[in-house]
């Protein structure tokens, strides 16, 4: 146990030191993207991994978070950190509305229904240009004008290091929450539901309630990521709701190892740079090559390590990675 703790501590330490060692903003930018997607995948992991409900609709929460905090910030100068919480709460409420019908369904039906939800949100975001005083700008998307300097009130920083540490903190937070849930009583409930819902209900577990609870938490953090995204890229658009993004998120978690604590992080560490680098070095000349590579990895993992790349590692570092201690 302690061995794994130290390992974890070392990893965190390395992450904390990274910006001090690597001064190049481009790498820092890449690192932030990696952490952001690790965080997103980790938030998906709570519903998708712990509860085993493979949602294809996570981008909906990302989108809600981004739009809510941004609109609050632009029109009423609400500090994005506050907007982040509000967005999270709204996303959590929305997730009840999504979860209620979708959780009636299982397997492919569940996947497809959540997919349909992302499409609906995307279309609505694209078509609505004006809501009361708020101009959603339709497909054009909303740009948050850049305010110079480093300000936590505006959640805008000239130095990327700030963003880096914020998202790092968020990631560590969600990892602790994941771990706590997993060890808690209802973590065990979720695992039971994941393994066999009928059996779970037959021993008195109210599956629907716990699934929705998990989805709400998942949605809350997904929305937080949305706010971070908005403040980092200073631009949001309906694409945020796209099913493609949902799939990308779930891909990272699955490739890393759904349900495992560090899976999403590892997945992001592998996949995010690949898509970044291949785009940078192949993108121009060989259109689409990066997607071929991406698809290749996906196929390989599904065929040879469908549980993701963590479980094989898990044999060695049990306590840190294992699904259940």
């Amino acid at each position: 146990m302690s061995w794994n703790r130290t390992l974890f501590a070392l990893a965190v330490l390395a992450a904390v030191l990274f910006p001090l060692v690597v001064r190049d903003p481009y790498f820092l930018h890449a690192a932030i993207t990696v952490l952001l997607f690790a965080f997103l995948a980790s938030s998906w992991n709570i519903i998708g991994g712990l509860a085993g409900q493979h949602s294809f609709g996570h981008s909906v929460f990302l989108g809600i978070g981004a739009y809510v905090s941004t609109i609050l910030f632009i029109y009423w100068n609400v500090p994005p950190f506050l907007g982040m919480i509000i967005g999270g709460i709204i996303a959590a409420i929305a997730s009840i509305g999504i979860g209620y019908p979708c959780f009636k369904l299982r397997g492919p039906y569940f996947a497809l229904s959540t997919l349909a939800f992302t499409e609906i949100f995307r279309i609505i975001a694209t078509t609505t240009e004006q809501v009361g005083p708020v101009d959603l700008k339709g497909a054009a998307g909303i740009l948050i004008s850049f305010r110079p300097g480093n300000s936590f009130v505006n959640f805008q920083f000239a130095e990327k290091a700030y963003y880096y540490y914020i998202i790092l903190a968020m990631l560590i937070l969600i990892l602790f929450i994941h771990n706590w849930i997993e060890k808690s009583r209802w973590g065990l409930y979720l695992a039971a539901i994941r393994d066999n819902e009928d059996a779970a209900r037959s021993i008195g577990i109210n599956a629907r309630r716990f699934k929705i609870l998990a989805l709400m938490i998942s949605a809350f953090f997904g929305a937080m990521a949305g706010t971070f995204y908005a403040q980092f890229f200073l631009y949001i658009e309906p694409i945020l709701f796209s099913s493609a993004l949902s799939i990308e998120i779930l891909l990272i978690a699955i490739v890393g190892g759904a349900g495992t604590l560090m899976g999403p992080f590892l997945g992001s560490l592998i996949l995010t740079p690949i898509s970044e680098l291949t785009r940078t070095y192949l993108g121009g000349t060989y259109a689409g090559v990066q997607l071929i590579i991406y698809g290749g990895i996906l196929v390989a993992v599904m065929m040879f390590a469908p549980q993701g790349i963590i479980p094989p590692l898990a044999k060695r570092y049990r306590m840190l990675f294992e699904r259940r201690a």
Binding site: Y26, T126, T127, A139, F146, I239, E276, G283, A287, G288
Partner: protein, 427 residues
Amino acid sequence: MRGEFPSKILFLRRRKMKTIGIILLTFFCVFYYGLGLTYAQQEVKVGVLIPLSGGLAVIGENLQMAHDFAVKEINEAGGIKSLNGAKIKLIYADTRGDSKIGMSEAERLILREGVVAIVGAFQSSVSYTSTEVAEKYQVPYLVPNSLMDAITERGFKYTFRVERKGSLWAKDQIDFIADMGKATGKSAKTIGVVYENTDMGQAIAKGIRKWAPEKGLTIGLDEGYPPKTSDMTPVVLKMKRANLDIVILNSYTSDAILLIRTIADQRVNPVAFLGSSSGYSDPSFIKEVGKLAEYFFDLTEWTTDLKHSPFVQQKNVAYKKWNKDNRDFNGGAAFCYASTYILYEALEKAASYDPKKIRDAFAAIKITKGPAMMIPWTPIEFDAEGQAKGARMLVVQYRDGQRKSVWPAEISSTKPVWPVPKWEERK
């Protein structure tokens, strides 16, 4: 801080500095000649953001060719004189048509590649965001063809746009319709706007809603259809039922092809169809729909048969000879070509690798001659917002598969056919 140092240390420092200075000076003297040489080979790195993969790859590649052609010409003509003939080197970055990627790529160009200026990024949404990055790092950003008004309405110091603002495109379309009415006596009452529901389409539609009433035109149909629509018949039938005098269309290539074919199938016969560039100016559009495009009007920034400048024909011929699948310039490409020359003029003027100086050169530029004159207005200069003054759009009509300029009359080659013949009457 300095003041706190004991004078002794300060003194030492001073001396140290002096010695270093002397050493440097000698080095400089010794290698001056050598330096001079290396200087001559030096390059001016300029970043180009365009979509090279994804749905817009076709358009992207087309623009890329235009840039390459201009740079080839400039470098063969001895590069930038004011920088001892430094050559322009374009570094392409693929935006995949994604505004997020556009931003990170812009950042990469500036920080990794160390470009002194950026040109791009075709799609408004991408230009909109990547200009933000350039502004942040204070690198001049020249936008040849993106129409979203906001791009030059954010008080940016480093963004310059050659293209006409999107909302004014619609104004030009409306003016054209009104003028044709006067000229032919066949004036239109109700117009319809059918557009792909993306930033560009929505911008055009917004403009039409704004300007149509001023010319006494009523909007009979205002229909945005979703991207990736698999069947255009529903939209076309709606168009047909609204029996409009003028149909204004805005689509990317795939939709444009489907739309025209369906319109022909359904025998929709208004006085005229008027496109809004993009899909309707894409070479593969005319290649694929062929005869169906005949008599189709299209708003465009440019065409090969403009009369205002000799460069138009002569450069297009040269370009056609040069590029592999001997293509003509289309509007987008021509603007990219001209923009490369505007960039060149700015670099000459700035006589420096410093982005800030180059930015000032852009702001002060006033071009009245040279290949930049491909652009159908003079002089080329930018207002305080960085928007090109005097920018305006033209209208072409497809005639025997050629895009013939028909409006404004003074610089156009051809008399328009208005109203266009009914589908039934075409052979």
